[in-house]
Amino acid sequence: MRLSKILKNTLLVLTACLVLTACATKKEVATDIQGQMQGDVYTGTDTVKYLADGVPDRVFFATNESILTTASRETLRAQAAWLRKNPSINVVLEGHADERGTREYNLALGERRANAAKDYLMTYGISSDRITVLSYGKERPVDSGSNPLAWSKNRRSVTVKAN
């Protein structure tokens, strides 16, 4: 009897704790998103790697979109400058989509996103024969989360050294 009472009390306390922590994390996530997304385009640096100092390797997209944002164009200009300085380097542009779309359409969308990046690099003087486009659709997310922030990190085109 006594034991069950103790257990009950601990349970109550535990539940209270759980409720409290749940609230705390929720708030945290909300502010997190605010700092890391603009509209639904990812603006954080969590997943970003660097091809060289000040040359981020990836750009991000809005849902269902392949339009380059101002920040994306800045990143790609840095990549173009780096590629001009390193004429022997070729790149693969890997286009990705989030998990909230059908597989086949997402393959096409990933290709369209990578091509948006490719076109921009080309307007800054990078020859098309140095660039290969590869779409992974939704097959290779960087974040396995099922939430808007995770999806925003996954809608991306990543520039990868090919040699």
Partner: protein, 446 residues
């Protein structure tokens, strides 16, 4: 392997093609027909022979279990508990005591006999109308013993057809993508299994990413997307010989392949410069034709069963919608106008409907509409599901469903599910690993 299978059909007794029992499959069936599947009787010598060859203690019971399971999962039949059966299998097969079967409320009865003859498996079965106290059907098959499962499926198809008036879908296989590992680095393999989940086999090793396998409706060929050497291309695979070849010579990604209904062409998308268009390739003369020519994404093409039309997915209106055109690419008409995005249209083998995936307000639906876009019906709603594939009789859809991950990004799974055209009878199809992209074969026999 399947071509070599030799199955002998023999009609034991001619029967008149009318019956009192009828199963209505056009509406959701909330009162499945109660029926009794008696274990197939087997003499002791045959039993021992099959035990030696197949390592199965009683092949008669095993075959009847397959029949029972198929009929139950169809949702149209309610196989009764064998413990309630009053008559022994061998006697029931000779002449059922209909009052006994009536007593346990069976409206139909399946009996049969298995024997070992000249190293072959001989199975006879009979379907009885219990209320009318008469035989409805009697058939016998002779085949190699290792084919015993298929005999169970063929019996199921015969019973289904006799009682519903439509062809069955049990003697069929499913090709799909087996998935393992963390969500950010899934290992995917082609796998194939019988429609009921047995005889699962992996067809690739998982060294490269593979997606969207689809059966040729006329042979044991499969077309699919492989990232072999990091170049996403459409491939052709012969399941019998294991030979693979790349389809066409395209300078970029080819994807979303499907066969034409006569099995002679592959229709697919080719992506270049941010545009995806639909192409066909004739498998005999290798001639490639461009079917659509539009700056948008055109993908997920699927032929009508007569081959005259193609339904496909396009975002030419700004968002993903479903279109229908003539097989030469002319006369393009948008058919989806509801709220939300529409994808993965697949033409029913009966020709009257198009199944699709719909995304609306953060939910995914599997639905069907008429080929002119009218009569949209949503069959099932979930967090994520897509890619319906039709059973060969156009009565059941198989698709895959993924789960939401928790706050830590854990708990992801992908499973195969089926649902009747009516929206009833939703079921998970058990697979040894996670699974996606299912494609249903045609009937192997008939």
């Amino acid at each position: 392997m399947f071509r070599k299978i030799f199955i002998l059909f023999a009609i034991l007794i001619p029967f008149k093609a009318y019956s009192l029992i009828e199963v209505d499959i056009t509406r959701g069936n909330l009162n499945p027909l109660p029926l009794a599947v008696s274990p197939l009787s087997i003499d002791e010598t045959s039993r021992k022979n099959f035990e030696k060859i197949l390592k199965k203690e009683n092949i008669g019971s095993d075959i009847s279990n397959i029949v029972e399971n198929n009929l139950r999962t169809s949702g149209l039949f309610n196989p009764l508990d064998k413990k309630a059966f009053l008559q022994a299998p061998d006697i029931a097969n000779l002449k059922p005591r209909f009052e006994d079967w009536n007593l346990i409320k069976a409206q139909a009865l399946i009996t049969g006999k298995v024997s070992y003859i000249d190293e072959k498996l001989r199975v006879e079965f009979r379907l009885w109308d219990v209320l009318a106290a008469r035989e409805m059907m009697a058939l016998a098959f002779t085949t190699v013993p290792t084919n015993w499962r298929r005999v169970g499926h063929i019996i199921s198809d015969k019973v289904y057809q006799r009682l519903t008036g439509e062809k069955g879908y049990f003697d069929t296989r499913i090709i799909y993508v087996s998935e393992e590992g963390p969500k950010v680095q899934r290992v995917k393999k082609l796998a194939i299994m019988d429609q009921d989940g047995s005889n699962n086999k992996f067809l690739t090793l998982g060294n490269e990413l593979v997606l969207t396998p689809r059966f040729n409706p006329t042979s044991q060929m499969v077309t699919y997307l492989s990232y072999f050497k990091n170049m996403p291309r459409v491939y052709l695979l012969d399941i019998e010989t294991g030979t693979q070849e790349v389809v066409g010579d395209f300078p970029g990604m080819t994807f979303a392949p499907r066969f034409s209904p006569d099995g002679k062409k592959i229709i697919m998308s080719f992506a270049k410069d941010g545009k995806s268009d639909i192409y066909t390739m004739d498998l005999e003369n290798r001639i490639v034709e461009k079917i659509t020519n539009h700056p948008s994404i055109d993908t997920s093409p699927s032929y009508s069963p007569d081959g005259k039309f193609i339904t496909f997915n396009s975002d030419r209106s700004g968002y993903q919608q479903i279109y229908v055109m003539k097989n030469d690419g002319t006369d393009v008409k948008r058919i989806s106008f509801g709220n939300g995005l529409y994808g993965t249209p697949v033409w029913s083998p009966r020709g009257d409907l198009i199944a699709f995936t719909k995304l609306h307000k953060g939910k995914f639906y599997i639905g069907v509409m008429r080929t002119d876009g009218t009569g949209e019906r949503l069959l099932t709603e979930n967090y994520y599901q897509e890619a319906p594939s039709w059973s060969p009789n156009g009565r059941v859809l198989i698709f895959y469903r993924e789960t939401k991950t928790n706050a830590k990004g854990e708990g992801f799974s992908a499973k195969l599910w089926s649902i009747d055209l009516t929206g009833y009878n939703e079921r998970q199809i058990k697979t040894p690993t996670d699974a996606s992209d299912p494609s249903w074969s045609s009937l192997l026999s008939n």
